[in-house]
């Protein structure tokens, strides 16, 4: 492990935390709101969308950090994973 690994770790853990807490808060708020207002359910759905976006987000964050460190090999690897995830997303929409 060297300093660079630690930089990636920091960027990623912030991204993961941001995604986890945003999704959690939105879902819990939506579940409570749906008993009070008719659009409450949509807040929970938005939370699930944030959750579904976290896999893509963490790859993008890693990719950008690798680029920043000029570690092009792993930037390319991250980009490859992102391409497959985006392909799945496109195929999912078409289904």
């Amino acid at each position: 492990m060297n300093r660079q690994d630690f930089a990636v770790d920091r960027v990623l853990s912030h991204t993961l935390k941001f995604g986890a807490y945003t999704a959690f808060v939105l879902i819990v708020a939506g579940l409570a709101l749906q008993f009070i207002v008719p659009w409450g359910n949509r807040v929970a759905v938005a939370g699930l969308f944030v959750l579904l976006a976290t896999p893509g987000l963490r790859i993008i964050a890693a990719c950008l950090q690798f680029l920043h460190e000029r570690d092009f090999r792993y930037a390319l690897v991250s980009f490859g994973v992102l391409a497959i995830v985006v392909l799945a997303y496109v195929l999912g929409i078409q289904a």
Binding site: L31, T54, I84
Partner: protein
């Protein structure tokens, strides 16, 4: 959906997320059969909802493991090249497979997981916790990628993370320390499950009303579990999970034999 049903789902999610984080296994494995057996969800829907729980566990626990520098992000990213391909192909295939066949496959996987957890519990009888991670360089990438492809396939087909397949291969063939292997697998399963989840979502197999309370419970359980896990011996939680998994496998086989899962 009634408040009681919502609370029940949240409680199931809390236990699955908490046990999963504490024992170092994906809690998703108990969610699918519970939904399929006791909530009467079709297999594809039960799997679709479980995929969201897997993403939630991975995101919540990985944020801490990555922060503690236990996760090998470069290794995980490389192996994800294979898991995502496997997951994508399998998720597309799963929608051409009928419910009963999926249930048979799942029951087999439950038995395999129970076996691998028994082995894990047996191995960790006297083992002390690895406090310091030894230096290592991942070896034998072809074996790791092949195992990841298969693990990804199971993830897309059955909605599980695939840890019981990846972790032993990383440990034995790639010579990665156990804690690093488990944390890296944990990081990967979110991306793998995400890939499959898009396909299940597109086919309308992710029920929002069921997923929302379940995922909320999983988040709370796994955040708490990952926080207290360094202080707890996993053996007792493993034993609990082995019992639950065995019971659910028996229930699934019984339901299959009596003509269920149509």
């Amino acid at each position: 959906m009634t408040i009681a049903a919502m609370l029940l789902l949240a409680a199931i999610g809390f236990c699955a997320g908490g046990f999963g984080a504490l024992a170092g296994v994906g809690g998703g494995i108990i969610v699918t059969p519970l939904l399929a057996i006791y909530f009467g969800l079709p297999m594809h829907q039960a799997i679709g909802v479980t995929l969201l729980c897997v993403i939630a566990t991975s995101t919540a626990t990985s944020s801490m493991y990555v922060e503690r520098h236990v996760t090998d992000v470069r290794l995980g990213m490389t192996l994800e090249l294979a898991t995502t391909v496997g997951a994508l192909i399998a998720a597309l295939m799963a929608h051409r497979i009928n419910r009963r066949t999926l249930a048979v496959l799942f029951a087999c996987f439950l038995l395999y997981s129970a076996g691998s957890m028994i082995k894990k519990a047996w191995d960790s009888r006297h083992a002390k916790r690895q406090e310091v991670i030894p230096d290592y360089t991942p070896q034998n990438y072809p074996a790791g990628l092949a195992a990841s492809l298969i693990a990804g396939g199971f993830s897309g087909l059955l909605g599980i993370g695939g840890g019981p397949i990846k972790v032993p291969v990383m440990l034995l063939f790639m010579k990665v320390p156990l804690r690093v292997a488990a944390a890296t697998s944990n990081f990967m399963i979110g991306v793998t499950a995400g890939t499959s989840a898009y396909i299940y979502w597109g086919h309308g197999n992710i029920r929002v009303d069921i997923a929302a309370p379940l995922v909320a419970g999983v988040f709370a359980g796994s955040l708490l579990g990952a926080r207290i896990s360094p202080k707890i011996r996993p053996v007792y939680i493993l034993m609990l999970l082995i019992s639950i998994t065995g019971w659910l496998a028996a229930q699934m086989i019984y339901k299959l034999l009596t003509g269920g899962f149509q």
